[in-house]
């Protein structure tokens, strides 16, 4: 009986403990969770798979470290997919921290055994053109000239000296755009400018908060595929057959979410039981 009263004024540290456990445990679980693939993520994966080897993929990193748990796994999956299929990757960022995230993703991939022997070559297989300020205006400028918008790469090398950039003028030389977005500027702007105006083919990965705003573009055919939040990351990983952090992260997030919901239910149960008792007495 006293149990419920205690529950009512439970020490917040108990809640903290459970949230922590719910977040940490999935990191060490190796359960083959059944992940259903949504059509949007399938479409995104198919878009990558349809590209013939040697195609040029523009990856835009429009997010910063706070959104990294949701988007980094997707960046890694997409990069790995590109390298495995011998697609050429051009990375840029409309957010100042974006290109740093790109380098971090590359670091993660290249530390794998598989790539230690055959590391993709910078400037030939991939290039990081860095950040350019100006939000959607950057996309607009890229529509007329990518080399003029990004005259130098991340390290300051002029693009004319980069083999991969030879022959790239604007979006017509890009076979696929993959946008990783956590807000503004992001997928909405890329659709409005790169897709609607310059007819690029594009897919996107978004944070869970952003994704609902972008879904209409998928249905209208402006976006070829969309992967939203950690769940999208997990699906994407499952499709590529490489189970990375996205799957673990998604489990963590779902567990924590369920814990919060459970606590709300417990709190209300305790409240009604104690109040019922007060009324009777």
């Amino acid at each position: 009986m006293e149990f419920f009263e205690k529950l009512m004024s439970i020490d917040r540290r108990v809640i903290f403990f459970f949230v922590g456990v719910a977040l940490i445990v999935p990191f060490f679980l190796d359960i083959g969770q059944k992940i259903e693939i949504s059509p949007e993520v399938q479409a995104l994966y198919d878009a990558f798979m349809e590209l013939p080897p040697g195609s040029k993929v523009l990856m835009t990193f429009d997010y910063d470290p706070p959104s990294a748990p949701e988007l980094q796994p997707q960046a890694i999956t997409a990069l790995r997919l590109c390298f495995d299929r011998n697609l050429k990757v051009i990375m840029i960022g409309l957010w100042p921290m974006g290109p740093m995230q790109a380098n971090l993703a590359l670091g993660t991939i290249f530390s794998e055994k598989k790539y230690l022997d055959k590391e993709p070559v910078y400037g030939v297989d991939y290039v990081n053109l860095g950040y350019s300020p100006g939000n959607e205006l950057v996309i607009q400028r890229m529509g007329s000239s990518i080399p003029a918008t990004f005259p130098r790469d991340f390290q300051g090398t002029p693009v004319e000296e980069i083999p991969l950039m030879q022959g790239i003028v604007n979006f017509s030389n890009i076979d696929f755009v993959f946008n990783l977005s956590a807000g503004y500027p992001g997928t909405v702007e890329w659709v409005q400018f790169a897709v609607d105006r310059f007819h690029a083919r594009m897919g996107a990965a978004n944070t869970a908060v952003q994704a609902p705003l972008v879904y209409p573009y998928v249905h209208a055919g402006q976006l070829t595929g969309l992967s939203g939040g950690m769940k999208g990351a997990a699906e994407f990983e499952k499709l590529t057959g490489f189970i990375g952090k996205g799957t673990k992260f998604m489990l963590s997030q779902s567990f924590a979410h369920v814990i919060v919901i459970l606590f709300i239910i417990i709190g209300n149960t305790a409240y009604f039981v104690t109040r019922g008792r007060e009324k009777r007495s």
């Binding site: 540290r13 977040l23 940490i24 990191f27 060490f28 944070t207 869970a208 908060v209 939040g229």
Partner: protein, 223 residues
Amino acid sequence: MDSFFSHTLAAILTIGIISFLYKDNPLYKFCESLFIGVSAGYWFVQQYYANLLPKLFDNLGITRMLGAENVPEGALQKLFLHGEWSEDLLYLIAGILGVMMLLRLVSRIGWISRWPMAFIVGSISGLYFITYFQSNAMRQMQNTILPLNSFNNLVLIVGTVTGIIYFYFSKEHKGLFGAAARVGVYFLMVTFGASFGYTVMSRMSLLIGRVDFLFGTWLGLVK
């Protein structure tokens, strides 16, 4: 080895902050004080390089006067060397206001720091007056003028109008008016509940990032 050292440093700081959840402790106090000092310094340096130097010194031409050749001529050079008026000269006003602000340090004439404050408060009042009226009031009103031909529109209009009634100050919330205000409160509560629930998930992912740093990047337990 070097990266292990940096990661360990970052990990200790991470654990220090998290330990606050249990209770206040020396490690947290250390992290907190370090954070205060480092971040104050960070912004101090930032303010200098991002604002003071380019916006004031470069625009006026002070950097060039001090011998920086690679900076283009500023407003003062244009005025005194070429006799040209330049809009950038207006930055001088900002410079003067900034110095007035610093005069607080001299207690005898500290009162002069009220001038830049008055300037800021005045301009903000003017600017916000108009921008909020335009984008908050007018736009939201316009968006709410909808035909009552669907349930959703009806809910939107009733919610907005009763919500405004809740904020009404000069009439007692009694009778029919009070009932409408109460409906307004219900709408506000739904609004708060919904936006709260909506953000829970994104807050979780922040922590996942830190957990990943501790167990993955630092300890290497999670691949």
